[in-house]
Protein backbone atom coordinates (compact mmCIF):
# COMPACT_ATOMS: atom_id res chain seq x y z
CA UNK A 1 0.00 0.00 0.00
CA UNK A 2 1.17 3.48 -0.73
CA UNK A 3 1.67 5.77 2.22
CA UNK A 4 -1.15 8.22 2.89
CA UNK A 5 1.36 11.07 3.08
CA UNK A 6 3.46 12.65 0.32
CA UNK A 7 7.07 13.36 1.24
CA UNK A 8 7.27 16.66 -0.60
CA UNK A 9 4.05 17.96 0.96
CA UNK A 10 5.08 17.25 4.57
CA UNK A 11 6.66 20.09 6.55
CA UNK A 12 8.50 20.11 9.87
CA UNK A 13 5.94 21.11 12.49
CA UNK A 14 3.03 19.31 10.78
CA UNK A 15 0.83 17.46 13.25
CA UNK A 16 -0.35 13.87 13.11
CA UNK A 17 -4.04 13.19 13.76
CA UNK A 18 -4.91 13.42 17.46
CA UNK A 19 -6.47 10.37 19.12
CA UNK A 20 -8.52 10.82 22.30
CA UNK A 21 -8.91 7.88 24.69
CA UNK A 22 -11.78 8.86 26.98
CA UNK A 23 -12.49 7.24 30.35
CA UNK A 24 -9.71 4.73 30.73
CA UNK A 25 -11.18 1.83 32.69
CA UNK A 26 -10.11 -1.48 34.23
CA UNK A 27 -11.69 -3.51 31.41
CA UNK A 28 -9.18 -1.86 29.03
CA UNK A 29 -6.33 -3.43 31.03
CA UNK A 30 -8.04 -6.83 31.21
CA UNK A 31 -8.79 -6.82 27.49
CA UNK A 32 -5.19 -5.85 26.75
CA UNK A 33 -3.85 -8.54 29.07
CA UNK A 34 -5.83 -11.11 27.10
CA UNK A 35 -4.89 -9.67 23.71
CA UNK A 36 -1.18 -9.28 24.42
CA UNK A 37 -0.51 -12.10 26.85
CA UNK A 38 0.88 -9.60 29.39
CA UNK A 39 -0.48 -11.04 32.63
CA UNK A 40 1.64 -9.03 35.06
CA UNK A 41 -0.90 -8.76 37.93
CA UNK A 42 -0.14 -5.07 38.58
CA UNK A 43 -2.67 -4.31 35.84
CA UNK A 44 -5.76 -6.24 36.96
CA UNK A 45 -5.31 -7.75 40.44
CA UNK A 46 -6.38 -5.21 43.07
CA UNK A 47 -5.42 -7.47 45.99
CA UNK A 48 -1.93 -7.89 44.56
CA UNK A 49 -1.32 -4.17 43.98
CA UNK A 50 -2.56 -3.17 47.43
CA UNK A 51 -0.20 -5.69 49.00
CA UNK A 52 2.60 -4.07 46.96
CA UNK A 53 1.64 -0.63 48.35
CA UNK A 54 0.09 0.73 45.16
CA UNK A 55 -3.41 2.30 45.44
CA UNK A 56 -4.98 0.72 42.37
CA UNK A 57 -4.26 -1.25 39.22
CA UNK A 58 -2.85 0.82 36.37
CA UNK A 59 -2.51 0.47 32.59
CA UNK A 60 0.09 -1.68 30.90
CA UNK A 61 2.54 0.81 29.40
CA UNK A 62 2.21 -1.02 26.10
CA UNK A 63 -1.57 -0.55 26.12
CA UNK A 64 -1.04 3.20 26.24
CA UNK A 65 1.71 2.92 23.60
CA UNK A 66 -0.70 0.95 21.42
CA UNK A 67 -3.29 3.72 21.70
CA UNK A 68 -0.54 6.21 20.79
CA UNK A 69 0.51 4.19 17.73
CA UNK A 70 -2.85 5.04 16.17
CA UNK A 71 -1.55 8.59 15.56
CA UNK A 72 0.99 7.03 13.18
CA UNK A 73 -1.25 4.51 11.43
CA UNK A 74 -4.00 7.12 11.05
CA UNK A 75 -1.37 9.52 9.66
CA UNK A 76 0.67 7.38 7.24
CA UNK A 77 -1.37 4.16 7.05
CA UNK A 78 -1.18 0.75 8.68
CA UNK A 79 2.03 -0.99 7.64
CA UNK A 80 3.87 2.31 7.06
CA UNK A 81 5.55 2.61 10.47
CA UNK A 82 9.31 2.00 10.36
CA UNK A 83 10.32 3.04 13.87
CA UNK A 84 8.31 3.57 17.04
CA UNK A 85 10.17 4.16 20.28
CA UNK A 86 8.41 5.02 23.52
CA UNK A 87 9.45 5.91 27.03
CA UNK A 88 7.04 5.46 29.92
CA UNK A 89 7.06 8.55 32.09
CA UNK A 90 4.06 8.14 34.37
CA UNK A 91 1.37 5.58 35.05
CA UNK A 92 -2.10 5.73 33.50
CA UNK A 93 -4.91 5.14 36.02
CA UNK A 94 -8.57 4.17 35.74
CA UNK A 95 -10.61 7.32 35.10
CA UNK A 96 -7.89 9.09 33.10
CA UNK A 97 -8.65 10.64 29.74
CA UNK A 98 -5.73 10.58 27.32
CA UNK A 99 -4.79 12.74 24.37
CA UNK A 100 -2.39 11.10 21.91
CA UNK A 101 -0.67 13.46 19.49
CA UNK A 102 2.44 13.88 17.39
CA UNK A 103 4.38 16.28 15.22
CA UNK A 104 6.95 16.10 12.45
CA UNK A 105 10.55 17.00 13.36
CA UNK A 106 12.44 15.92 10.24
CA UNK A 107 12.62 14.13 6.89
CA UNK A 108 15.24 11.67 5.71
CA UNK A 109 16.01 8.76 3.42
CA UNK A 110 17.02 5.27 4.55
CA UNK A 111 17.43 2.08 2.50
CA UNK A 112 16.06 3.96 -0.53
CA UNK A 113 12.86 4.88 1.32
CA UNK A 114 11.65 8.39 2.12
CA UNK A 115 10.87 8.79 5.80
CA UNK A 116 9.06 11.31 7.96
CA UNK A 117 10.38 11.52 11.53
CA UNK A 118 8.77 13.03 14.55
CA UNK A 119 7.79 13.05 18.20
CA UNK A 120 4.65 11.68 19.83
CA UNK A 121 3.22 11.91 23.33
CA UNK A 122 0.29 10.89 25.48
CA UNK A 123 -1.03 13.60 27.81
CA UNK A 124 -3.46 12.93 30.65
CA UNK A 125 -6.31 15.17 31.78
CA UNK A 126 -3.93 17.04 34.13
CA UNK A 127 -1.63 17.90 31.23
CA UNK A 128 1.05 15.45 32.36
CA UNK A 129 2.96 13.36 29.81
CA UNK A 130 2.49 9.64 30.49
CA UNK A 131 4.28 8.31 27.39
CA UNK A 132 6.74 10.13 25.15
CA UNK A 133 8.18 8.77 21.95
CA UNK A 134 9.75 9.18 18.56
CA UNK A 135 8.80 7.73 15.20
CA UNK A 136 9.65 7.25 11.55
CA UNK A 137 6.98 6.49 8.93
CA UNK A 138 7.31 5.89 5.20
CA UNK A 139 6.09 8.59 2.82
CA UNK A 140 5.15 8.32 -0.85
Amino acid sequence: MASKIKYDAVKVGDETPTVTIANVARPDFVRYAGASGDFVPLHYDQTFVEAAGIPTVFAQGMWTAGCLSRCLTDYAGAGQVRRFKVRFARQVWPGDTLTCRGKVTGKSEKHGERLIEGEVEVINQKGEATVKGTFAVAAG
Binding site: M1, I21, D28, R31, Y32, G34, A35, S36, G37, D38, V40, P41, L42, A51, A52, G53, I54, P55, Q60, G61, M62, W63, A65, G66, C67, S69, R70, L72, T73, D74, G77, A78, G79, V81, R82, R83, F84, K85, V86, R87, F88, R90, Q91, H111
Partner: protein, 152 residues
Protein backbone atom coordinates in the same frame (compact mmCIF):
# COMPACT_ATOMS: atom_id res chain seq x y z
CA UNK B 1 23.17 -6.27 45.83
CA UNK B 2 25.71 -6.10 43.01
CA UNK B 3 24.27 -6.59 39.57
CA UNK B 4 25.24 -9.60 37.49
CA UNK B 5 26.72 -8.30 34.22
CA UNK B 6 27.59 -11.82 33.12
CA UNK B 7 24.05 -12.30 31.77
CA UNK B 8 24.69 -9.74 29.00
CA UNK B 9 24.72 -11.55 25.65
CA UNK B 10 22.68 -14.50 26.89
CA UNK B 11 20.36 -15.69 24.12
CA UNK B 12 17.07 -17.54 24.52
CA UNK B 13 15.81 -20.49 22.55
CA UNK B 14 14.23 -19.26 19.27
CA UNK B 15 10.43 -19.18 19.43
CA UNK B 16 7.75 -19.24 16.73
CA UNK B 17 5.16 -16.46 16.34
CA UNK B 18 2.35 -17.29 13.92
CA UNK B 19 0.66 -14.03 12.87
CA UNK B 20 -3.01 -14.93 13.30
CA UNK B 21 -5.94 -12.79 12.24
CA UNK B 22 -7.92 -13.52 15.41
CA UNK B 23 -5.09 -12.18 17.58
CA UNK B 24 -4.62 -9.15 15.33
CA UNK B 25 -8.33 -8.27 15.59
CA UNK B 26 -8.36 -8.87 19.33
CA UNK B 27 -5.29 -6.66 19.73
CA UNK B 28 -6.75 -3.85 17.60
CA UNK B 29 -9.93 -3.92 19.71
CA UNK B 30 -7.88 -3.86 22.90
CA UNK B 31 -6.11 -0.65 21.87
CA UNK B 32 -9.46 0.80 20.74
CA UNK B 33 -8.35 0.97 17.11
CA UNK B 34 -11.33 0.75 14.69
CA UNK B 35 -9.09 0.77 11.54
CA UNK B 36 -11.01 -1.40 9.01
CA UNK B 37 -7.76 -2.81 7.58
CA UNK B 38 -7.49 -5.06 10.65
CA UNK B 39 -11.09 -6.25 10.36
CA UNK B 40 -11.86 -6.50 6.62
CA UNK B 41 -9.61 -8.99 4.78
CA UNK B 42 -10.91 -7.96 1.32
CA UNK B 43 -10.18 -4.30 1.93
CA UNK B 44 -6.79 -5.11 3.48
CA UNK B 45 -5.82 -7.30 0.54
CA UNK B 46 -6.80 -4.59 -1.93
CA UNK B 47 -5.08 -1.74 -0.08
CA UNK B 48 -2.07 -3.44 1.55
CA UNK B 49 -1.65 -6.84 -0.10
CA UNK B 50 -2.61 -8.53 3.16
CA UNK B 51 -3.83 -7.81 6.67
CA UNK B 52 -1.19 -5.64 8.36
CA UNK B 53 -0.45 -5.70 12.09
CA UNK B 54 -0.58 -2.76 14.54
CA UNK B 55 2.89 -1.29 15.27
CA UNK B 56 3.04 -2.70 18.81
CA UNK B 57 1.50 -6.09 17.93
CA UNK B 58 4.77 -7.98 18.37
CA UNK B 59 4.22 -7.59 22.13
CA UNK B 60 2.01 -10.67 21.80
CA UNK B 61 5.21 -12.69 21.44
CA UNK B 62 4.89 -13.21 25.19
CA UNK B 63 2.26 -15.82 24.31
CA UNK B 64 4.67 -17.99 22.41
CA UNK B 65 7.77 -17.56 24.54
CA UNK B 66 8.54 -20.33 26.96
CA UNK B 67 10.83 -19.55 29.88
CA UNK B 68 13.82 -20.96 28.00
CA UNK B 69 13.18 -18.34 25.29
CA UNK B 70 13.41 -15.47 27.78
CA UNK B 71 16.83 -14.88 29.26
CA UNK B 72 16.25 -12.56 32.21
CA UNK B 73 17.56 -11.04 35.40
CA UNK B 74 15.81 -12.14 38.58
CA UNK B 75 13.69 -9.04 39.01
CA UNK B 76 11.03 -8.74 41.74
CA UNK B 77 7.69 -8.64 39.92
CA UNK B 78 6.22 -6.23 42.50
CA UNK B 79 8.86 -3.64 41.70
CA UNK B 80 9.20 -3.78 37.93
CA UNK B 81 8.34 -1.04 35.50
CA UNK B 82 8.51 -1.08 31.74
CA UNK B 83 10.88 1.82 31.05
CA UNK B 84 11.17 1.95 27.27
CA UNK B 85 10.14 0.02 24.19
CA UNK B 86 11.57 0.45 20.71
CA UNK B 87 10.30 -1.20 17.52
CA UNK B 88 12.18 -1.09 14.24
CA UNK B 89 10.51 -2.50 11.11
CA UNK B 90 12.59 -3.56 8.10
CA UNK B 91 10.03 -5.53 6.06
CA UNK B 92 6.21 -5.77 6.06
CA UNK B 93 4.50 -8.23 8.42
CA UNK B 94 1.13 -9.71 7.37
CA UNK B 95 -1.39 -12.11 8.81
CA UNK B 96 -0.34 -15.59 7.69
CA UNK B 97 3.37 -14.95 8.21
CA UNK B 98 5.21 -17.18 10.65
CA UNK B 99 7.94 -15.30 12.48
CA UNK B 100 10.82 -16.68 14.49
CA UNK B 101 12.02 -14.55 17.39
CA UNK B 102 15.31 -14.74 19.20
CA UNK B 103 15.72 -12.82 22.45
CA UNK B 104 19.06 -11.56 23.71
CA UNK B 105 20.03 -9.60 26.82
CA UNK B 106 21.62 -6.50 25.30
CA UNK B 107 22.54 -4.69 28.52
CA UNK B 108 22.17 -4.63 32.31
CA UNK B 109 23.06 -1.55 34.36
CA UNK B 110 22.27 0.37 37.53
CA UNK B 111 21.34 4.00 38.10
CA UNK B 112 20.61 6.07 41.16
CA UNK B 113 16.90 6.83 40.87
CA UNK B 114 14.63 9.54 42.20
CA UNK B 115 11.56 8.49 44.16
CA UNK B 116 12.24 4.75 43.74
CA UNK B 117 15.85 4.76 45.04
CA UNK B 118 18.46 2.65 43.22
CA UNK B 119 17.21 1.21 39.94
CA UNK B 120 18.41 -1.73 37.86
CA UNK B 121 17.84 -1.72 34.09
CA UNK B 122 17.74 -4.69 31.73
CA UNK B 123 17.61 -4.19 27.96
CA UNK B 124 16.34 -7.13 25.91
CA UNK B 125 16.47 -7.23 22.11
CA UNK B 126 14.31 -9.62 20.11
CA UNK B 127 15.12 -10.13 16.43
CA UNK B 128 12.21 -11.39 14.29
CA UNK B 129 12.71 -13.22 10.99
CA UNK B 130 9.90 -14.27 8.65
CA UNK B 131 9.33 -17.64 6.96
CA UNK B 132 11.68 -16.56 4.14
CA UNK B 133 14.50 -15.96 6.61
CA UNK B 134 14.34 -12.18 6.22
CA UNK B 135 14.78 -10.03 9.32
CA UNK B 136 11.50 -8.11 9.57
CA UNK B 137 11.76 -6.36 12.92
CA UNK B 138 13.70 -5.68 16.08
CA UNK B 139 11.94 -5.11 19.41
CA UNK B 140 14.05 -3.65 22.20
CA UNK B 141 12.57 -3.41 25.66
CA UNK B 142 13.94 -1.88 28.86
CA UNK B 143 12.68 -3.24 32.17
CA UNK B 144 13.39 -1.40 35.38
CA UNK B 145 13.49 -2.82 38.89
CA UNK B 146 12.96 -0.07 41.47
CA UNK B 147 14.14 -0.17 45.08
CA UNK B 148 10.54 -0.11 46.30
CA UNK B 149 7.07 -0.24 44.79
CA UNK B 150 6.42 2.98 42.87
CA UNK B 151 3.10 4.78 42.83
CA UNK B 152 2.63 8.33 41.63
Amino acid sequence: MAIDKSIIGQTGKPFTVPIEWSKVREFARAIRDPNPLYFDPELAKKECGGIPVPPTFLQVAAFWMGEDSMPTANFDIRRILHGEQDFEFLKPIFVGDVLTGTSRIADVYEKAGGRGGKMTFMVTEIEYKNQKGETVAFARGTLVETAQAVSS
